[in-house]
Symmetry: C2
Subunit: 496 residues, 2 copies
């Protein structure tokens, strides 16, 4: 059942089929019967015959293997509490995202401030492969400013929930529809791509929404957008709404999910299954409150669904670099449990799953860390740690040491762990210092700031431990706790 | 469409209907026709007549409003890379979880080590309200040790995927079924609750799984478990599998989701919609790799689905305390974007959404922070910061200061932000130090480690700023960037 190979229908995800082209075909979403299943044919999702007999029935809607990313770190991400990007930083981030291969880069409205306008123009002039979008209110004033910046497309948005309609702009749906049509026609007349989105879509009236989207589709909007602005939507609500919308419009469908209730990645995934074409992301998910679908998290989800599409299209090995760049600028730490790049993402605790993983990684891993330029990490900062775990870490850190040297270093780490709790970083720093000391005349202390008492205890523990044979003790400890003790192949697994 | 009020069917979620009672009714899951919809009746999900005409059709399966939590910080969480809990810490965590109101606490196998066995016994003797479970391999040896510890129930697990069957224990499904039945009958004969789970369920053969679950259901197992051990499952796969299983067994259904691809919370939610009864969680989600469904994240999801059930049943105001306790012990920082308790969860950036939030929080918030003893936080560590934002932070920190004092403090923070980028923590520490200085004879420096140059620049900026009128400048800045500028009610919203 898992992973699903959605790549099997053979559509070339690299084809530039969306946007710019659907003006004349709107309203043409015929629904031919195919083996009893009704399939919607759109520009994004043409009916290509597949030769794979295992193609799941009713899966014509799915865009799992041909989705596009609208990267919004420079718009949604700029609304993150700690984000204040200078022009240079914005350019650095835009270039990094372009290297990564995102399809679109969305920028803060040029109407937000004079600096925003100038930054928008500067990024448009970089000549990136990614299309540049800016995100403005659905008014002619904003649209006029936007089209002058040099962007490839304009993303407009308007509040459609009854709450926003009553307490905010006070306009009815007819007014909204007319305003939208005016703006769409204007932006199209300038030869630019135009998206129309509602705000807080999941608290808006369904009939209002569909009426509005149907109207803008008829005048040739390139994309309509659904936004879960407050992060309340559940996967089945998303699937139902997108699937319904897929039957109403023939243009592309963009989706934007906040993560307040933990569904931002899952909702993006089911939206694609239901026929959405574009997903909004930001680096590490930064945005309003706890943010939106994270770029890295979406990659984790999608590589499991269609490894070929994702690895061919995106430069996954750049992910960590981009995350570090953004994290530094907004002054946050990468969460320990961050998808793919968090310290524990590919970490296995010695003695529990570690041995199985060392034997065959696919036992307990669905993602290959190497696809992201990452390495598997068998946790070792503990008393159970053995020298082969340290050896793998030494290799990860790119240091050269002989096995004998690694064994001495292991003893020191184990002794240190008995003196005080040591974190991942501490162990790394001990390894680096130990390695440095091999080439120094005088030893640098392995951990800074140790008290005299700690030093004494450390020497004692080290003396105790140096008699032990590390490899054997690791293997025994691992065996005792492993799923499948090496000597007892009839035992059954324990960890779920 | 959102939030859905699933509470409307009026079932008392506090009733202790699951476990211990279904032995005689297994196999009795009749499927009466109700208005054309087939509903499954189980102990957990009896057909209670509802008087609400808006009850969604086909929703008989949903346990959104009567789910139970199996808290596994002391089992799955102990497998987290950095987790080494002492006996005292385990007891502290167990008591905290019990205060919170979790239904079950799951402990590491007593067979893992002598200390694990002793800790298991110690926790059983605490007399907690929560039921205590331990998690062991599906063998008679393990089951015998488990039932002697004093636990209320035993969770057994066995690998059923073809991979584990071929490369691990090498046993076929008939052997697995017979082993399971023997263990189940033994544990039941001791008067204890028994759960049977497969491992890596989403990479197991569906027919094998259903055959096995049907067999153990017939001998009276209290719960069957589905585990997404590698974190590959998608919401629609989960819904389909749980719904199918719901039609096959009449016992309770527990689910366990890893978060490698970002769906652990969403999958738990759709599992409940499909008829699952129990969800496994851990505090901050700690576990193998990047962990499982987090307790706090599940609360965020469920409080939006059924606020009444969640607030009545769980002591939500304890959440932050438990998270801090666990985070301290495993030496991690609470991620900036953590559900509910992360620093940005209820933070709104001055000038973007902040003004709308100050006017009416429900505009951009789906969760009320007060339900968790948290407060809304208008971000202020920036040059846009105004004294009313600082005032709200001072109140959050529980400090007493006059408005005049807060204004002086605000000027200092703004001056500091012009000298160097300041983080949330810096701003908090400035406020605390400033507050302390009000009662000290001699001032403590507001930020430690400032260079002479920085001090000079700070004095200069402070002098410049003290002429300004903070409140007005905040309001103007907020107006300029707000969704709905106060003077222009015909404008439409911008942020999605």
């Amino acid at each position: 059942m898992c992973p699903v190979d959605d790549a099997s229908n053979g559509v070339d995800g690299h084809a530039h089929t969306n946007g710019h082209t659907n003006g004349t075909t709107n309203g043409a979403n015929a629904a031919p019967e195919t083996n009893g299943f009704v399939a919607v044919e759109t520009k994004q999702n043409p009916h290509i015959q597949t030769s794979n007999p295992y193609q799941p029935v009713g899966d014509f809607l799915s865009n799992i293997s041909r989705f596009k990313i609208i990267e919004s770190t420079l718009r949604e991400g700029e609304q993150f509490a700690n984000a204040y990007f200078s022009t240079e930083v914005k350019i650095q981030i835009a270039k990094a995202l372009d290297d990564f291969g995102v399809d679109y880069i969305e920028l803060t409205s040029p109407c937000a401030s004079e600096q925003s306008r100038l930054d928008c123009e500067a990024i448009c002039k970089l000549g990136l492969k990614a299309k540049i979008l800016t995100h403005v209110r659905c008014t002619m004033e904003d649209a006029r400013v936007a089209v002058e910046t040099g962007v490839d497309g304009v993303d407009v948005v308007i509040g459609t929930s009854s709450y926003l309609r009553e307490h905010s702009h006070g306009k009815d749906m007819t007014y909204i529809k007319n305003a939208a049509i005016e703006v769409i026609k204007f932006v199209k007349s300038k030869g630019l791509e135009i998206r129309f989105s509602s705000e807080d879509s999941f608290r808006s009236d369904l009939v209002d929404l569909l009426t509005l989207y149907s109207a803008v589709d008829k005048v040739g909007v390139h994309r309509v957008g659904i936004a879960d602005t407050v992060g309340c939507a559940t996967p089945r609500q998303v699937y139902d709404l997108v699937r319904t919308l897929r039957g109403v419009v023939s243009c592309d469908i963009e989706t934007h999910f906040h993560n307040d209730t933990g569904c931002a990645i899952a909702n993006a995934y089911v939206a694609l299954e239901a026929g959405a074409t574009h997903i909004d992301t930001s680096v590490i998910g930064i945005g309003e409150r706890n943010g939106i679908t994270p770029l890295g998290g979406l990659m984790a989800r999608m590589i499991v669904a269609d490894r070929e599409y994702v690895t061919k299209k995106y430069n996954l090995k750049k992910l960590k670099e981009i995350e570090d760049l953004v994290a530094d600028n907004v002054e946050i730490n990468i969460p320990f449990n961050n998808y793919i790049t968090g310290f524990s993402a590919f970490t296995h605790k010695a003695g529990i799953h570690a041995k199985a993983i060392l034997n065959n990684p696919s036992t307990y891993e669905i993602i290959n860390p190497a696809d992201f330029g990452m390495t598997r990490y068998v946790h070792f900062a503990s008393r159970l740690t053995g020298w082969n775990a340290i050896k793998s870490r030494v290799e990860q850190l790119g240091l050269e040491m002989t096995d004998a040297q690694i064994k001495v270093c292991t003893t020191k780490i184990k002794a240190m762990a008995d003196v005080r709790p040591i974190a991942i970083d501490d162990a790394d720093s001990i390894i680096r210092t130990f390695h440095g000391n091999l080439h120094r005349k005088e030893d640098v202390p392995l951990l800074p700031g140790m008290t005299e008492e700690e030093k004494k205890l450390f020497e004692m523990k080290q003396a105790e431990l140096s008699g032990e044979r590390e490899k054997r003790s690791l293997d025994e400890a691992a065996d005792a706790q492993a799923e499948v003790p090496s000597g007892k192949k009839t035992k059954t697994g324990v960890a779920a």
